[in-house]
């Protein structure tokens, strides 16, 4: 792997870890985006959730002015994305977390529950990509 990609991955990862750890240390909140988004939209409209989500949107707004390279399109059509979103929303709500809540915060809390979740979603995601790309040759 190209050393520039490697450095960007590590730097970006460290920024994510600092953000999640910093939020926990200063406010006691877990930066699990699926729970944050679900609760902000569906249930408890607490200010901090909307503010964190606003920070994520702000990052998107600032990316081009800061000269960061960003992709211009998602690789799939609207129906495909809606179907995927439905599964992501349902699954993360049922399992209480996604790549950020279980994958970053949960592992940093040394939670067996989160490690289990990470292994399960990595496995089903890997099988899904295999089926789509190598068996169905659909995307």
């Amino acid at each position: 792997m190209d050393s520039q990609i490697l450095a960007a991955a590590l730097l970006g990862g460290a920024m994510i870890g600092l953000a999640a750890g910093g939020l926990y240390l200063t406010t006691g909140r877990i930066a699990g985006i699926s729970s944050l988004y679900g609760d902000a939209v569906l249930r408890r409209p607490q200010a901090w959730r909307w503010l964190f989500l606003a920070g994520l949107i702000l990052a998107g707004l600032l990316a081009r002015p800061l000269g960061l390279t960003v992709p211009e399109a998602l690789g799939h059509g609207p129906l495909w994305l809606a179907a995927a979103g439905l599964l992501v929303g349902f699954g993360t709500r049922l399992g209480n977390g996604c790549t950020s809540g279980h994958g970053v915060c949960g592992l940093a809390r040394l939670s067996w529950r989160s490690l289990t979740a990470v292994l399960v979603f990595m496995a089903t995601a890997g099988v899904t990509v295999y089926v789509v790309r190598h068996i169905l040759k659909a995307a």
Partner: protein, 139 residues
């Protein structure tokens, strides 16, 4: 509401979002490339997650040892139970993630990038979460 209650979630949300962009994780090709071990494998996601956990871990452990966050709040401590909801939920999330290459964090950053293609995904995530909330609560 104190200034810190606004600045901390907003600032850490921004840092989290910039980390997702710098690390390349908002590019679905990098996510799907990681999940596609039988294809042209892209290992960056492992470095992003590893880097994030390496930085977050001491901050989370410090917070737990203090017993209180800097703002005096009790740190969130989700249940440790490993049950069927966790396994099934994580499994379903993985399928949606594998179909699209998008998880909730990058999905919201995309909104800030101004790419309307992400709307069906985000609306469907909310719908999926709403459906999961309608399931009978089982132990």
């Amino acid at each position: 509401m104190k200034i810190a209650d606004i600045v901390l979630p907003l600032g850490f949300g921004l840092l989290f979002g910039l980390g997702l962009i710098v690390s390349g994780m908002i590019d679905t090709a990098n996510v799907l490339g990681f999940l596609d071990i039988a294809g042209d494998w892209r290992p960056a996601l492992a470095l992003v997650m590893g880097g994030a956990v390496a930085v977050a871990l001491p901050l989370f452990q410090w917070t737990r040892r203090r017993g209180k966050a800097f703002n005096g709040a009790e740190p969130e401590s989700p249940p440790a139970r490993i049950d069927r909801r966790l396994i099934v939920g994580a499994g379903i999330f993985g399928i949606g993630w594998g179909l699209s290459g998008i998880c909730p964090g990058p999905g919201i950053v995309w909104l800030g990038l101004g790419i309307d293609q992400v709307w069906p995904f985000l609306v469907a995530v909310a719908a999926g979460a709403w459906l999961a909330d309608r399931l009978p609560q089982r132990r």
